[in-house]
Amino acid sequence: MPSSLLSISHVKKSFDGIFALRDVNFEIQKGECVALVGENGAGKSTLMKILSGVWPHGTYEGEVVFEGKTIRHTDTLKARKSGISIIHQELCLFPKLTVAENLFLTEAFPYNGEPSQKLAETVRWETLFERADALFKDLGFEVDSRVLVEDLSVAKRQLVEIAKAFHHQAKLLILDEPTSALSHAEVRHLFNVIQRMRDRMTFIYISHKLDEVFELADRIIVLRDGQSVAELKKSETNPQEIIRYMVGRPLQVAERVQKDFSGSPIFQVDDLKHFDEQGKQILDGVNLQIRKGEVLGIAGLMGSGRSELLRSMLGILPGKRTGKVILEGEEVYWQGVKESMNSGVAFVPEDRKKDGLFLNHAIDFNLTITLLKDLLGKIWTLDLDSEKKKVTSLIRSMRVKCGSPLQSVKSLSGGNQQKILLAKMVARSPKVLLLDEPTRGVDIGAKEEIYDIIRKLAASGMSVILVSSELPEILLLSDRVLVLREGRPVGELENISLTQEKVMSFAAGEYHGV
């Protein structure tokens, strides 16, 4: 089809043997506005990275044709020059520079577009501002080009990004979750802008929020497990169908035994609210209880406050918290993981490389750093022999595949790294275990093993709070599921014949409307 602007055929991309994209095929016509939807991990961001040149040509299989030519981006600059621009969720502007500078500074000839070879040419401020004002006038945006970007609201910053993309002659503009930080009125304004610009640009709109998708898009493309599973015209579908496509993978056989949890909760949170340092409310009135041996899943979309909830309970989320955290009937005021661990609550953070492991250090060092107190021998010194024994038994019980405990953790695969992280946190046998994304970036085999470990821990009487962006994982492991949306609890569901569709509809706000 010669008329299509972008055509993607059989695109595949894998990281260390794990496929992020299996087989993506779709076409976009000029002037369309297409929504791309999919669960976390469906491959949306990987696809966007291919389009924007982060993954250059040759690192993926398949063909991407833009304006009739196969694209062979070697870097992001080439991609932008060819006419594909992307506006990330985290905006890429320089906060300490003015709007005008942000618009033109990255181009070769910021003043008048005239070439100047002089590196030390003085800034021609008036020319800069005039050009910026002219651009905004042309687009009908009301943005002052003289203010610093950090003083603009998020919505205005997005307009700057859009103007920048337009200025760079973008023909295809990709918006990644643009409304996650916008108020209702600002969303309306953004939609107006997009509608108005449609004769000049083609849009790909990535979002979780189905109501927005249905308002804005002509067509909806659903990605799942790295495959494009559906391409639907808006007029011919409905949100329920889209959700079904999004989560539609065959459920792993749930061997979950329904258990009866009675007795008083071992751990509970009452009316927890959290305000960040700017005073913005992140969590609003969260209540949860968990009993001995129970697994509580916490589901929600990106930005729903899942991880923030765990961190807030532990006292390591910046800002101010109100509400009660109660362990075994007594209110606790943890100021960090050290205190929570001493009272028997362990935390496995989601980013194992940044927050969890000492990558350059050996396996044994990583495993025992949390339980040095138990390894003290005579005269307050570490008993290295019993450390060695402990390490060996932990490696065995977690089935870590390694050559020697002296090997650095960096040399292990993602799955084995994750097992080390899990092992070191459960080594002191806590009463409550907080897991944040325990299987992120882990291959299928290791995933199963980690599920097994979690099940065993729960069976041994440990209470587990499981935060995950992968619904099948939540449904497979949890006894109950708490669904969060925008920091608020929107549903607490017993995991009895619970489906991904149902959880998703709570998470995406179908049951509450917008």
């Binding site: 993981v337 050290k338 060092f365 040095l372 065995r396 089935r399 020697s404």
Partner: protein, 392 residues
């Protein structure tokens, strides 16, 4: 199941002496040691065979023990990925305080008791400065560079104030003995040979029983054997071990022990390795940092009183740039400025390198100005070579 087999072979490999992991380190440190020996021989030849005499090396050992004391503390600090620029000034302040107690308060007349009191005063001053530094870094969360830069200037100013910008001398005989007295050659011989036999024996037994990795055993036993052999030649050939050297070696030994056998030692590596992860693993980061700078302060105080004892008095400009010598020694010893990697054994080696260069160059008559240039070059080249060999 597969993992279990692999694990077993992992241990077996170590036991059979076929572990490949650490042999490279071994070769690296061998290379460094051989280079230093060659340099020493060069100095010896060049100085008409004056360098490798017992007398000169004994002198050298007294010259380096202030730097060794500082560098031991600096290793702890740098392991946490911090830095302490204030040690030179803290050294001066505490040295000055000990000198003033001797001279102005006439503690010199109190004999050994006076000396002990002055000594403790210096440690207290150092500990106080270190405590304040540690508090600012651990609790107020100001960057170490800034805090210690401020502390450096403050302590230098305090030194000038309390001394009236004058040299204070002389110390009482008892405090001076710290520098001028020696453990008798006979006792030194017993001490050194016991150390030699005990260490080599420990590693030999450990190796045979398979408790210690062979490369570690060879390396550690070799290093200790080399050092104590050298010690016997140097100290028993000339008066015995100077007290000062004994004290600073003791500091190094305690440091090595602390890093290997205490929770605190582990915490230092964890904090420097990944501070975020340390915090989330329940490591008491603030407490450990505080303690580290406190210990650094006490060691700087100790270095201060040693320095005073060595020159039998104190000058307000004492210890200028000695923080840089200590940092250089630590870095030459293979400790990473990024934190998390390093050993005190390496630092001892770094201190030796710096000492050999200083002493050797003076002995062969290179002017002090040229010495500085040369030392600077050596620091950069040594670290570059270390970096390159690690990458291979």
């Amino acid at each position: 199941m597969e993992s279990r087999v692999e694990l077993k072979t992992g241990w077996m490999m170590n036991r059979l002496g076929k572990s490949k992991i650490n042999w490279k380190n071994y070769e690296r440190s061998m290379g460094a040691v051989i280079t230093v020996i060659l340099v020493a021989l060069l100095f010896h030849y060049w100085s008409n065979e004056a360098f490798l005499t017992s007398r000169n090396l004994s002198n050298l050992s007294r010259q380096i023990c202030v730097n060794l004391t500082l560098a031991v503390g600096m290793t702890l600090v740098i392991l946490t990925s911090g830095i302490d620029l204030s040690v030179g000034s803290v050294l001066a302040l505490s040295g000055m305080v000990s000198a003033l107690t001797q001279v102005s308060l006439h503690w010199a007349n109190l004999g050994p008791y006076g000396a002990v009191l002055s000594f403790l005063c210096a440690l207290a001053v150092g500990g106080l400065c270190g405590g304040i530094t540690g508090f600012s870094i651990a609790k107020l969360k100001i960057t170490p560079f800034i805090v210690t830069l401020g502390m450096m200037v403050i302590c230098r100013g305090m030194t000038l104030i309390i001394s009236g910008a004058q040299a204070v001398a002389p110390l009482g005989e008892s405090l001076g003995a710290l520098s001028s007295d020696y453990l008798s050659p006979f006792v030194s011989l017993i001490l050194l040979s016991t150390t030699l036999v005990a260490t080599v024996g420990y590693y030999a037994v450990g190796f045979i029983k398979g408790r210690v990795l062979p490369d570690v055993a060879f390396k550690n036993a070799g290093a200790v054997a080399l050092l104590s052999g050298l010690g016997i030649y140097v100290f028993c050939g000339y008066r015995g071990i100077p007290y000062m050297v004994l004290i600073s070696l003791l500091c190094a030994a305690v440091g090595i022990f602390v890093l290997k056998y205490t929770r605190y030692g582990r915490f230092l590596y964890a904090i420097g390795g990944n501070r975020e992860a340390a915090e989330l693993s329940g490591v008491p980061v603030a407490k450990a940092l505080w303690l580290t700078y406190f210990l650094m302060g006490i060691l700087a105080g100790l270095a201060g009183v040693m320095d005073s004892a060595r020159v039998n008095g104190s000058v307000p400009s004492a210890g200028e740039l000695s923080e840089l010598d200590a940092i250089a020694a630590v870095v030459i010893g293979g400790t990473s400025l990024m934190g998390g990697v390093g050993t005190i054994a390496g630092t001892v080696f770094g201190v030796l390198v710096m000492g050999i260069l200083n002493n050797g160059m003076s002995l062969v008559g290179i002017s002090e100005h040229y010495q500085k240039v040369f030392k600077g070059v050596v620091i950069v080249v040594a670290v570059y070579l270390d970096l390159r060999s690690k990458k291979k």
